[in-house]
Amino acid sequence: MLTISRELVDKIIAHAWADHPDEACGVIAGPAGSDRPERFIPMENAERSPTFYRFDSMEQFRVWREMDDRDEEPVVVYHSHTATEAYPSRTDVSYASEPGAHYVLVSTADPDNVQFRSFRIVDGVITEEDVRIVGG
C-alpha cells in the first residue's frame, strides 16, 4: 500500500495538468527505508512527448546524488499518461528500474475523471496496490 499526503497527490496532479498533453514525470523522495514519500521533485521530461517520458540524465544524476547525500531514496516515481489509462504500459514495465519504488500513474485522458493509481513493478511483474491518502 502507498500512504501519501493529500498535498503531494495534489502536486502530482497539478504537474500532470501543467505538462498536458505531454507526459509529466518526477520523484518523491523519502528517508531511506521509511517508505514515506516526503520531498516532491518534479523532473523535466527530456522527451517532451505525449507518449513517452525520460528523465534528463544530468538532472537525474544531480537529484540521485542529492538523495544519496540526504540518505533518501526514490519512494515514489510518478508519471502521467495523457491519452491512456493510469496503468503501466509495456514500455513502463520494460524500463522500470527501481524495484523498491511505488510507481504512481496519473491519467489526464479524461478531465472529469483524473485517475491516480499506484503499482509495484518488479522483474517485469505489475502489482497494483491500494493508495491511502492522508491529511488535508
Partner: protein
Amino acid sequence: MAIEVRIPTILRTYTDGAKSVNADGATLSALIGDLEARHPGIKARLVDESGLRRFVNVYLNDEDVRFLGGLDTPVSDGDTVTVLPAVAGGGR
C-alpha cells in the same frame, strides 16, 4: 588506487549487495571488462553490441559519458564512475 564504480540498486545482485565497488582500466570499456571479471553478468546489463545500452546512464565524475567519449572515455585512478538506469516509460 582504483576507480570507484557506484552501482544502482537494481544491479546490486551482481555485487553481493555492494553500493560501490572498485575496478581498473584505462578506458570505460576496459573498466567494464574488469568489472565483468569481478562481477560476472554485469557487463551485459551495461553494454550491447552497439555500445552503451540506451537506457543505462553512465557518468564519469559529474559528466554523462555520452557527452564525453562514450565507451572510449579515458578513466584514471581516483575517478568515480556512477551507473544509473534511465527512468523512462510512456503511455504507448
